[in-house]
């Protein structure tokens, strides 16, 4: 059973994307505001790199760019002393149109970043020197022929699986074509080649997500289109296929749900790839889970505003007191920005205070009175309003948990 609670973080603007870092300790959100200074358009997506590469974020925007951010610690002589802030390390300007998605490649491939744009090109960048994030070289350009809306790396780190990326398109032109293409890296040609096209998906695709592989022998791909679809891709063993060519897959659709009754916007897998969450135009978040017979079922419905859906037995008894003990971080959170970070407290997830502190990537254009400082347009500030330690007069200690070491 899942019960929702609200996190007090009233953005002035719409949140376009939410992303957790590897450890689930920090969250980045991106939103649209006309006056965002880093990107001149609204930020579609934000994504974290593996912490092995440092605290690195990538964002992509309507303004035809993608950007890579890194958290650094402030110099001692300025007023941000002791605080970390985010610096834009590079801007990737190759796209001629809105960059619609950005994703870091799985860790084992090194620091690689894929972007896709409305002009139908997937670009794969690599930072050859992980110490220098200002240099990214464009390694591959894959033309998809269709306006791209979303990409997903296959997270499998197994040597048996070649790097693979799935691309979804939201092209709504009437000549229906397959909207999901899967590209695979070929060791011999050192290029990405089309491995599969999901011919049955002909409606605009809004989101696509490979499930964490978790040692499975096949891959699971969730697609958000006019319904939720789950595909499995089982690689046909190499011995059976002619070597050198792209991997062949047995593709099965294992689930297809139109319960959202309308467009599905996002899909997201939990860490084990066993629960899928989807959101749709009906304003609901639905959770899907397979039983032991591999039958997928809806295991939870929640309204977008966190209230339980009437008539849904799963949501019968949500605890009304939960909402009240969420500390309000509201006041300091006002303002519009391209990204915000949340640092959950160290205690268990059930504790009342879910997020103890957060950083704000960007200063708001007209600084709201509650924000105590502003900084350069392309730096980010970090604030740590710790709910359990209100002594904000002392230098904010960004390492509240360190004392126990």
């Amino acid at each position: 059973m899942f019960v929702a609670r609200s996190i007090a973080a009233d953005h002035k603007d719409l949140i376009h994307d939410v992303s957790f870092d590897f450890h689930g300790r920090r969250m980045a959100t991106c939103s649209s505001d006309q006056s965002v200074k880093t990107h001149s358009g609204s930020v579609w997506r934000v994504t974290w790199a593996h912490p092995e590469f440092g605290q690195v974020l990538a964002s992509c925007s309507f303004d035809r760019t993608a950007a890579v951010w890194e958290e650094i610690v402030g110099e001692s002589n300025d007023k941000l002393r002791g605080q970390s802030h985010w610096v834009k390390r590079t801007t990737l300007v190759d796209s001629r149109t809105s960059v619609t998605d950005v994703k870091f490649a799985p860790k084992h491939m090194g620091l690689m970043l894929a972007t896709c744009s409305a002009d139908g090109i997937v670009r794969i960048y690599e930072a050859p020197d992980v110490m220098n994030l200002s240099q990214w070289s464009l390694q591959h350009e894959i033309s998809c022929k269709l306006s791209c809306s979303c990409i997903s790396w296959n997270p499998s780190s197994s040597r048996a699986h070649a790097p693979m990326i799935a691309v979804g398109s939201d092209d709504s032109s009437p000549n229906a074509m397959a909207k999901v293409q899967i590209f695979e890296y070929n060791e011999n040609t050192r290029k990405y080649a089309k491995a599969e096209t999901l011919l049955t998906v002909t409606d605009p695709v809004h989101d696509i997500a490979f499930a964490p592989n978790l040692g499975r022998s096949f891959h699971i791909l969730a697609i958000a289109t006019k319904d939720v679809r789950i595909f499995t891709l089982k690689p046909v063993r190499k011995e059976l296929t002619s070597s050198g060519g792209p991997t062949k897959f047995e593709i099965h659709i294992v689930a297809q749900f139109d319960n959202h009754n309308s467009q599905v916007w996002r899909v997201s897998w939990n860490i084990t790839g066993t629960v899928l969450a989807s959101s749709g135009d009906d304003g609901c978040v639905r959770l899907w889970k397979a039983n032991y017979m591999d039958n997928w079922k809806c295991t939870g419905i929640l309204k977008g505003n966190g209230s339980p859906v009437n008539g849904s037995s799963q949501q019968g008894n949500s605890n009304p007191s939960i909402g009240s003990n969420i500390p309000s971080l509201q006041n300091s959170l006002n303002g519009s920005s391209a990204g915000r970070y949340f640092f959950p407290p160290l205690d268990s997830p059930r504790a009342g205070s879910r997020w103890s502190s957060y950083a704000q990537l960007l200063p708001p254009p007209p600084p709201p009175p509650l924000i105590e400082h502003s900084c350069d347009a392309d730096t980010a500030s970090l604030q740590y309003p710790h709910p359990r330690r209100r002594s904000l007069s002392r230098p904010l200690n960004p390492l509240p948990e360190n004392e126990g070491v």
């Binding site: 059973m1 899942f2 019960v3 929702a4 609670r5 609200s6 996190i7 973080a9 002035k12 603007d13 719409l14 949140i15 376009h16 939410v18 957790f20 590897f22 450890h23 689930g24 358009g41 609204s42 440092g54 605290q55 309507f62 610690v73 402030g74 001692s76 002791g82 809105s98 409305a118 780190s157 709504s172 978790l214 916007w265 996002r266 997201s268 939990n270 860490i271 084990t272 790839g273 066993t274 629960v275 969450a277 959101s279 135009d281 304003g283 978040v285 889970k289 295991t299 977008g304 505003n305 009437n310 160290l346 268990s348 997830p349 879910r354 960004p398 390492l399 948990e401 126990g404 070491v405």
Partner: protein, 913 residues
């Protein structure tokens, strides 16, 4: 307002009221019904709101359009445009303010009667009302009235008099507009521009015009067909939408020459277009005869300057009700809320949700963003654990040290929560395998054989290896004068039964102890069945009786016992007939197979062997007892494949930890994602391996072990040695995935424990020493644990290793005797106390020190910042950084402690309850 098609309006300030207008005006009040019952007479609008009718105003016939007065006071003042062009002020409800009472009923009369198409109150000067009229020869079509004007012309034109027949209070008639615009034209829609009080945008016949009231002779206009429903974006005052037929045009007033954008054309003509007042760039449109409201989300402000960025529009549609929608209205303040009305005046109140984006955190909670808000949702703690997701289960199991009990291997299933029969079976199997292996190895020393290596290969291999060696013989039933064919138990079958847990190690083939343990655990039915399968019907009946009387068991067991005792061997007896039909109605599978066994023909036991609810180990043990070699082989083969396909962990009993076992585990992982169990289980195989392989690879040991044949000779049967299993890509991949999972959960201590556990069983997985500290002068490692660095040539033992009473000065390099660097804080040369702990090198994990001693030791470790390369004693450094952000070395501004964010995270286990 045509009488058939209602329109709907929210009150601009009283946010819980709206008006529905068709032939009359009806004022409604909206109430939340979340905490109360639906009142009598109110109309349900949505799941949690209802409307009550407050008042009806039918004083104004021939309504064509209605506009709500925008100022706070009076609240319920409405302007109604009529078919004759007159605009009447009317009110709903009682306004007590006498100041405005004289406004009500006021009429504004154009010179020539024609239809009034549109009305618009000026948002800045609340008294100004613009009315758009149809064309009448060369007359003006846009009239702006001041509702407070007292001016009534002395001479009322003749036709006005005719029209206002019956009008008694002529003082309420106003005929002189403040402004007259749009001569010789028709006006279809109007809106005031928020940029300036005196700018009015009008959709005229075939053009859009901006009238500037400061200079009425001039107007800015653009020819277009899209002249209907002009409306200004409340968040972006230069953006205007208008429509024509099925097409919406978006205009930028700064470059008014052509629409910046036209939205995809709808097949049916549009009837209404409205910007959302609570959210930027959201335009709602409605077409005729449609139950869908189409929303256009314009994320970006169009820029007039050069940039040819085509704005991204996200098209969405909502279906608030099943009927056709006549009209809709956005709520003025409530976020994205809208009310719709259908032609038959049913209404529906709903909220347009923003596109929700979501993300799972590695710990099992889901975060989503809806509009400006963030929500988090977590799996409830007090849940039925069977329904829990595997991620939650694995987390809990990791915390309970699942898989780490290497002594009592079977206990791991209890650590896993003691709820999954498959896991229980798996760990018991592994326990028996390890146990038996130990035992058979001991035996092997006395009598040469390779059973030791057979054990881990599972019953399938054991059975295969015994092909064609067994004969059956007749055995007496105890307590009955009946005989049944039972296979003579050869060594392999005994081994198999031992692995199944039916009999203990040794040559004793008595199932008594096993029965007793089952009885103790309250598994009466199972115990009875096992007793029966061992031809001891008396014991079976006794067990059932015991179960019935124990209180915990089912009282019906007595009945079953009675039925059993009536057993007769006669082929055509009533007992037999009834049992074979009625047994299918028994719920308990063991009771069911008992009767199946008793009623079966000799040699055909399918009723027992293929009863899927009976534990695999019992079925296999049964098969070993009763099936001939060829039958047994076929059965085991079949069952193994079944288990492999299903990924049923009970099948590990059959496959053992061989390639077959990996295949089985693969389908288990495919099915459940439980890499944790897979990793730990396969590590057990390494345990099996590490003992046998070590025994064979190490010559000294195998010499001692009485010339056991090399394992390779039996590989043919096993399809791969344990080493192959261990090196199987899949196994390594599961382990990698599980470690990754622990890392993501910040269960670093658990991961470290896992690694230790793993390296114990598989020494090859041990990582190499990571760091050396070398002396500045001689360049040699200053490590005292020279045993870990044998390649350093001459050992350091001469410089006083652990335990040596004649240590050299430890604050200096053991190689060249030059002093080591000083701690930045205490300014003492480092190294002093490190040597006081014998063998206390960093890399040595085996040193088992009490906690405080460990701390003391750690405090004296060398630490340094990789960035500025200043450092000192760890304890000093930590206490310094507790209060400081910067490096203690003067003039160094390095923020040593904050450089690594991951390093600042605390492992999740330490904060778990």
């Amino acid at each position: 307002m045509s009488g058939t098609k209602p329109d709907i309006l929210w009150a601009p300030h009283q946010v819980d009221r709206f008006v529905v207008c068709d032939s009359e005006l009806s004022l409604y009040h909206v109430e939340s019904t979340v905490n109360s019952e639906l009142k009598a007479g109110s109309l349900r609008l949505s799941e949690d709101s209802a409307a009550t009718l407050l008042s009806i105003n039918s004083e104004t016939p021939y309504m064509k359009c209605v506009a709500w007065y925008l100022s706070y006071d009076p609240e319920c003042l409405l302007a109604v445009g009529q078919a004759n062009g007159r605009v009447v002020l009317t009110s709903l409800g009682q306004d007590h303010n006498s100041k405005f009472r004289d406004l009500i009923g006021k009429e504004f009369v154009p010179k020539h009667a024609r239809q009034c198409n549109t009305l618009a109150w000026n948002p800045l000067d609340s008294n100004w009302l613009a009315a758009g009229l149809d064309k009448h020869r060369a007359d003006f079509s846009v009239l702006i009235w001041d509702i407070c004007s007292k001016y009534t012309p002395d001479i009322v034109p003749m036709e006005k008099v005719r029209l206002s027949v019956g009008e008694t209070e002529t003082s309420l008639l106003v005929t002189k507009p403040l402004y007259e615009l749009g001569q010789n034209d028709a006006c279809l829609s109007l809106c005031w521009l928020p940029r300036d009080q005196k700018l009015l945008l009008a959709g005229m016949h075939r053009n859009l015009a901006i009238f500037d009231l400061r200079n009425t002779s001039q107007k800015m206009f653009v020819n277009t067909k899209a002249v209907q429903g002009v409306t200004v974006d409340p968040y972006f005052h230069d953006r205007v939408a208008s429509f024509y037929e099925g097409q919406v045009a978006i205009w930028d007033l700064r470059k008014f020459e052509k629409p910046v954008l036209t939205l995809t054309e709808q097949p049916k003509p549009l009837t209404k277009v409205a910007w959302c007042p609570t959210r930027t760039g959201l335009l709602a449109t409605l077409t005729r005869d449609s139950n869908i409201i189409r929303l256009y989300d314009m994320q970006h402000t169009p820029t007039p300057i050069g940039d040819e960025t085509e704005p991204t529009i996200i098209e969405r549609s909502v279906q608030p009700c099943d009927n056709y929608i006549a009209s809709f209205a956005w709520h003025p303040t409530s976020q994205n809320r809208m009310i719709v009305v259908t032609p038959n005046r049913t209404m529906s109140d709903f909220t347009v949700f923003e596109r929700i984006s979501l993300a799972w955190s590695p710990i099992t909670s889901l975060m989503w963003a809806c509009g400006r808000h963030l929500y988090e949702c977590a799996e409830e703690e007090n849940d039925n654990s069977l329904e829990k997701d595997i991620a939650t289960k694995m987390r809990l199991r990791a915390l309970s040290r699942y898989g780490l009990d290497t002594e009592q291997v079977w206990r791991n299933h209890i650590l896993a929560g003691n709820e999954d029969p498959q896991l229980k079976s798996l760990w018991y199997t592994l326990h028996y395998i390890l146990f038996m292996k130990q035992y058979t190895e001991d035996m092997d020393q006395k009598s040469p054989g390779n059973k030791g290596s057979l054990v881990y290969a599972g019953i399938k291999s054991i059975v295969k290896s015994s092909l064609g060696m067994v004969e059956s013989s007749r055995h007496n039933w105890s307590g009955l004068d009946k005989q049944s064919d039972i296979q003579n138990l050869n060594e392999e079958r005994i081994l198999a039964l031992q692995l199944c847990g039916w009999i203990k190690k040794g040559t004793d083939v008595d199932v008594g102890p096993f029965l007793n343990s089952l009885v103790q655990e309250g598994e009466w039915e199972r115990a009875a069945a096992v007793a029966l399968f061992n031809l001891d019907i008396r014991r079976a009946i006794q067990i059932l009786n015991e179960g019935a009387s124990s209180g915990k068991g089912d009282l019906n067991l007595n009945v079953v016992a009675m039925a059993l005792s009536g057993y007769t061997d006669e082929k055509n007896s009533l007992w037999r007939e009834m049992c074979s039909t009625l047994r299918l109605q028994l719920n308990n599978p063991y009771l069911c197979v008992m009767f199946a066994f008793l009623t079966s023909e000799a040699g055909s036991y399918d009723g027992v062997l293929y009863e899927n609810k009976v534990a695999v180990r019992d079925r296999v043990a049964f098969a070993c007892k009763f099936l001939s070699d060829s039958q047994l082989n076929r059965y085991i083969e079949k069952l193994t494949n079944e288990m492999k396909d299903a990924g049923n962990l009970e099948g590990i009993l059959l496959t053992g930890l061989t390639k077959d076992g990996v295949d089985l585990m693969e389908s288990y992982v495919d099915r459940t994602g439980d890499v944790q169990t897979a990793s730990y289980c396969m590590l057990q195989c390494m345990k099996v391996k590490s003992e046998s392989e070590v025994a064979q690879s190490c010559p000294t040991l195998s010499d001692l072990m009485d010339c056991s044949p090399p394992a390779s000779s039996v590989h043919g049967i096993f399809q791969g040695s344990p080493l192959d299993v261990l090196k199987d890509e899949r196994v390594q991949y599961w382990i990698e995935n599980y470690r990754n999972l622990l890392d993501a959960w910040r269960f670093w201590h658990k991961r470290a424990e896992f690694d230790i556990h793993r390296s114990k069983l598989d020494p090859s997985s041990k990582p190499l020493a990571q760091v050396f500290v070398s002396c500045n002068f001689c360049g040699k490692s200053i490590s005292y644990s020279c045993s870990t660095v044998p390649h350093q040539g001459r050992g350091f033992s001469q410089y006083g290793v652990s335990g040596s009473p004649t240590k050299s000065k430890v604050t200096s390099c053991p190689g060249c005797r030059k002093p080591l660097p000083r701690c930045a804080l205490c300014l003492i040369n480092m190294g002093t106390p490190v040597s006081s702990c014998p063998g206390g090198s960093k890399s040595d994990e085996k040193v088992d020190l009490s906690k405080d001693k460990k701390l003391a030791q750690f405090n004296n470790w060398f630490t340094w910042c990789h960035n500025c390369r200043h450092g000192g004693h760890a304890g000093h450094m930590l206490s310094w950084f507790r209060d400081h952000a910067e490096c203690p070395v003067s003039a160094c501004t390095c923020k040593c402690m904050q450089l690594d964010t991951t390093g600042n995270l605390v492992p999740a286990e330490t904060v778990q309850p």
